[in-house]
């Protein structure tokens, strides 16, 4: 047997399922002409853009606004939530960590309040989203939303709507606008019109101006990248728990905005 030079020579040609392999007869110049014509017609207002354009762009902008607002209006005291979360991370890793008895004691001392912890989840989700880690952000928002945090649920709603995942968007929308049991006396429950697709139109009415006010995320993003796991398995590229250093950077960041 003659050894082959390249792995490529050994591999059989992909057998794509019927109907999913683009034919070679695809006419590129004609397609470009059509795109050019569509662009011109949409610019002249002679053709409506497809439905997903406005919906998804608006949802993304809204999410950016919510996230930016969440981070820039965060009282510095709440940054401590993230530090508390870092303590929690210590606790989770505790079986593996040496000398963790002290850490556990410190943890007990810091996280007194479950609501503070939930805010920490939400806040960390927002930091991750802003730093370009939407998959990891989703994870923390889900924990927050699971603990009935409405802003986390609202973030998830906008996140999924922006990705065209209508089913998930509906689910989180309903979670976000659900009448909370904790309403103060005299506060009306949020009113949602009884229309089948109402949940998809909400971002169109939202104010997205705050998005422009966010400070540049460069340093913060680098700090988050430091936490990205390089495990070589399916968690590769995900961001693990926050640590104290990130909490410090976030404090600086909140001071900038």
């Amino acid at each position: 047997m003659n050894p082959e030079h390249l792995l490529h020579d050994l591999i059989p040609t992909p057998t794509t399922p019927a109907g999913t392999e683009p034919d070679d007869t695809f006419d590129v110049p004609a397609e470009l002409r059509r795109i050019s014509a569509d662009v011109a017609r949409i610019r002249r207002g002679q053709q409506p853009p497809p439905g997903w354009w406005a919906e998804q762009q608006q949802a993304r902008q809204c999410l950016e606004a919510v996230v930016a607002t969440e981070l820039s209006t965060t009282p510095l005291a709440r940054i401590a939530d993230l530090a508390a979360l870092a303590d929690l991370a210590d606790l989770v890793e505790q079986p593996a960590a040496a000398g963790s008895g002290r850490r556990r004691a410190r943890h007990r001392g810091r996280v007194e309040d479950i609501t503070q912890e939930i805010e920490g989840f939400r806040l960390f989700g927002c930091v991750l989203y802003l730093a370009g880690h939407p998959v990891s952000a989703e994870f923390w928002w889900k924990i927050g939303a699971g603990a009935r945090d409405r802003i986390s649920a609202w973030c998830l709603y906008l996140h999924h709507l922006g990705r065209g995942e209508i089913g998930e968007a509906r689910l989180w929308f309903e979670q976000a606008v659900q009448a909370a049991e904790g309403l103060a006396p005299g506060v009306p429950a949020p009113a949602v019109p009884d229309m089948p697709d109402y949940f998809r139109t909400a971002p169109l009415a939202m104010d997205t101006r705050t998005a422009a006010a966010a400070a540049p995320v460069g340093a913060l993003a680098r700090e988050v990248d430091r936490l990205v796991m390089h495990t070589g398995d399916d968690t590769d590229g995900l961001v693990s728990c926050p640590d104290r250093r990130l909490a410090d950077r976030l404090e600086e960041y909140a001071g900038l905005s």
Binding site: M1, P3, E4, H5, L6, L7, H8, L10, I11, P12, P14, T15, T16, P17, G19, T20, E21, P22, D23, F26, V28, P29, A30, E31, L32, R33, R34, I35, S36, A37, D38, V39, A40, R41, I42, R43, R44, Q46, P49, P50, G51, W52, W53, E55, Q56, R60, G132, V135, G162, R163, G164, E165, I166, G167, G232, D233, D234, D236, G237, L238
Partner: protein
Amino acid sequence: MNDDTFTGNGIGPAVHEPVDLPLDFEAYFLVKNKGFRRYAAEMLGDQAVGDEVVREVFTHLALNWDQVLAGPDFESHTWDVLTGAVMYRVHRLRREHELAARLRQTRRKLDQMHQALARVEGGAGLYAALADLPARQCDTFILRTTMGYTAEYTAQILGIHPRTVDYHHRRALTGLERLLTDRHVLRRTAAVPGPRREGADR
């Protein structure tokens, strides 16, 4: 350039209008249209509808080209736009269940292939080497290389991130190369660039 054609507000047949698109957009289209169309067809189960969605996406990108170029992460943004548009269409055509069924079917097929590979004993061929790879690397190799799916559709099947798929796939290729070189199926040359473990060649 296009003004004279468009005077009189007449809508002629699309093909007679001259192409008036940014040059770098056209280049991007040339590079990406095949992958985009493949992914859309995989998700929608239909090349014609997929092509329609991809045209919408490229039209959208062309209309907002300057903005798209100025964005922080160009490549991931264009993919976000594509996957968003595709999912929107999946929902509009009520094909969510169909898509889920197709994903399940592919996962089953993958399981069967794993079982078949586990039965391969000894030998120095590609399939014997494939059976020796870690499961995830084997998965991505089968889906990407043997079945020819896009990284993004592979990610849907496996329920992981497309970048993770790329990572596993790269590792699978280098792993296979090393295994096959050690077994003298491949010649010991450094013909394929890329990360190689020290001592694997020469």
